[in-house]
C-alpha cells in the first residue's frame, strides 16, 4: 500500500507548512526557493522522489496555484508540492534538469495558463496554433465563438 512520507518531510523541511491535497501529503513552497527544495527532494537519499507524475495548475482567480505531484518508485510514497503565483508575471524555474517528464508538462502549462518556465529547452505552444492569443484554461478566458472567428480570420471557410 502507499506509505505517507509525513515523518521524513517534517524532519528534513521543518519550516515548510505541511498540509493535505486530496489525501496526499502536500507542502507549500514559495516561488523563489522552489528549485532548491525540488533538488533536495530529488537527490536526498531517504526521499528519492525520482518521478514527476504530474504537473498541473489551478486558476484560483486571486492567484495561480501550481501543483507538482512527485512519486518515489523506490520508497513507494507520493508528495504534492504547491506554489502560488500572482497573475501579473507568472514565472517559474523549469524542472527539466531534474525530471525529463517536466518538458511536455511545462509546455502544456505554458500553453494553457501562460506560466513561463525559465530554462525550458523548447518552450512553445503545445496544443493551440502558434498565432493563438489568450490562455484557454484561465478562468477569465471566454471560449464561445472563438472557433468561428479563427476560421474566418484564416480564410479557411469554403466560400472565402
Amino acid at each position: 500500500m502507499q506509505q505517507q512520507p509525513e515523518a521524513i518531510i517534517t524532519q528534513i523541511f521543518p519550516d515548510l507548512p505541511l498540509g493535505r491535497w486530496a489525501q496526499l501529503v502536500a507542502i507549500t513552497v514559495k516561488q523563489d526557493d522552489l528549485y532548491t527544495v525540488c533538488t533536495q527532494l530529488r537527490q536526498h537519499p531517504s526521499l528519492d522522489f525520482d518521478m514527476l507524475v504530474c504537473l498541473t495548475a489551478v486558476d484560483r482567480t486571486t492567484h495561480l496555484e501550481v501543483i507538482y505531484h512527485l512519486r518515489s518508485t523506490s520508497r513507494n510514497h507520493d508528495l504534492i508540492v504547491k506554489t502560488e503565483l500572482n497573475e501579473a508575471q507568472p514565472e517559474l524555474p523549469s524542472m527539466v534538469p531534474l525530471w525529463k517528464s517536466a518538458e511536455l508538462f511545462e509546455m502544456e502549462i505554458y500553453d494553457m495558463f501562460g506560466i513561463v518556465f525559465k530554462g525550458h529547452p523548447d518552450l512553445r505552444r503545445l496544443f493551440m496554433p502558434e498565432d493563438w492569443e489568450g490562455y484557454p484554461l484561465r478562468k477569465s478566458y471566454n471560449a464561445n465563438e472563438v472557433a468561428d472567428n479563427y476560421l474566418k480570420s484564416h480564410q479557411l471557410l469554403i466560400n472565402q
Partner: protein
Amino acid sequence: MENIIGSQIIQSSDDEFIINVGPQHPSTHGVLHLQLKLDGEKIVDLKPFLGYIHRGIEKMSESLNYKQFIYLTSRMDYLSAHINNQACCLAIEKAIQAEVPERARVIRTLMAELTRLASHQLWWGSTGLDMGAVSPFFYAFREREMILEIFEETCGSRLTMNYCVPGGVMNDIHPDFVRKVKQIIKQFRDNLHEYDELLTNNPIFQSRTIGVGYLSREEAISLACTGPVARASGISCDVRKKEPYDAYDRVTFDEIITTEGDCFARYKVRLEEMKQSMNIIEQLIDNIPAGEYRTKIKGIIKPPAGEYYQRVETARGELGIYLVSDGTNKPYRIKFRTPNFSNLGALKPMSLGGKIGDLVAIMASLDLIIPDIDR
C-alpha cells in the same frame, strides 16, 4: 548550423533535411505530427507538434455538471473508454462518499478487463500492420468484434460505452452475458497460439523489434512512463496492484515485468497482460454477487469543496484524475493525467540515432492514442 540535443552539440552537415511525419500519416495512428531532422536514414532530431486533436475537454468540463463530463472522457482514450469513465465515477464516488454495491464493482471490473483485452487486440493488429504484415489486422479483429458484441448487448454501444454511472453501472448485465464471456475466453485461449505463430515467432518481426528502441529503467522513471511501456523496462507501476479499486483486491493476478526494455519486451508484456486479463475475468465471471447494480444518487451531485485524486490502470498506463470542486454542481478544475502524454516523451530518446523504419516500430510498441495526448 548547430543544434543542441540534450547535453551534446551535434554539428549538422548541410545535406540534412527536415521532413514531417505529419498529421496525416499511416503509422501515427491519429494526428501526431513529428518533425524529423534526418541525416540520410538516421534520425538526428525529433520534435513533436501536438494539438491537432485538442478539443479542450478540461475547459469544457468546467461548464458541464458532474453527470455530464464523465462521458467526454471516453472520447479521450477511446480504446479504454470504459476504464476512463470508471475512473471519473470512482473520483466522484470518493468525493461524495457514495456507497457502490458489490455487484456493480464486479461488473465494472469485468468490463474493464474486457476493454483491456479488446484494446490490446487492436494494438496487436495495428502493430502487425505497421511492420508490413496485413493478416494480423484481420485475425485481431475476429476476437475484438466478439467482445464488442458483448459490450453492445449490455451497454447498447460498441466503442464509447458510457456504461459507468456515479454509484454503479447504467443497467444490469445481459442475461447471457456470462455464457458469452466464457465462450469468448475459451475461444481466445484456443486462438492465442495463432498470435504467436503470426508475429511472435516471425523472424522478420523479431529482427525489427528485438534490440530496437531501448528504454532504460532510470530514463523511463524520469520520463514518468507508466503502463506496459514502463513495465517492459522493469518498473512495477500497476495501479491495480498498488491501489486496488473496485474488485481488484479480490482477484489474484501477477504483474508482468521484464527488464529488456526494447520493442519486443513491450510486445511480450502486452501479450502476457492479455492472458492475465483473461485470468481475472475467469476468477470473477462465475461469482458475480447478486443484488443491486447501482445506488440511485438522487438530484444534482454537489461534492463538498476540496480536492480529490483518483488513479486507475488503463490499457496504456496510469490515468490520474485531479478533481478540484468548489461545492457547486460543476467541477471547478479537472486535470486528466493521461498515460499517453508522458509515454510520448519517451519517443525521442528511444528513436534518436535510429532509422526511420525503427521509429515506426517504436511508435507501434508505444501504442499511442493521440486524443489521449491532446485531450
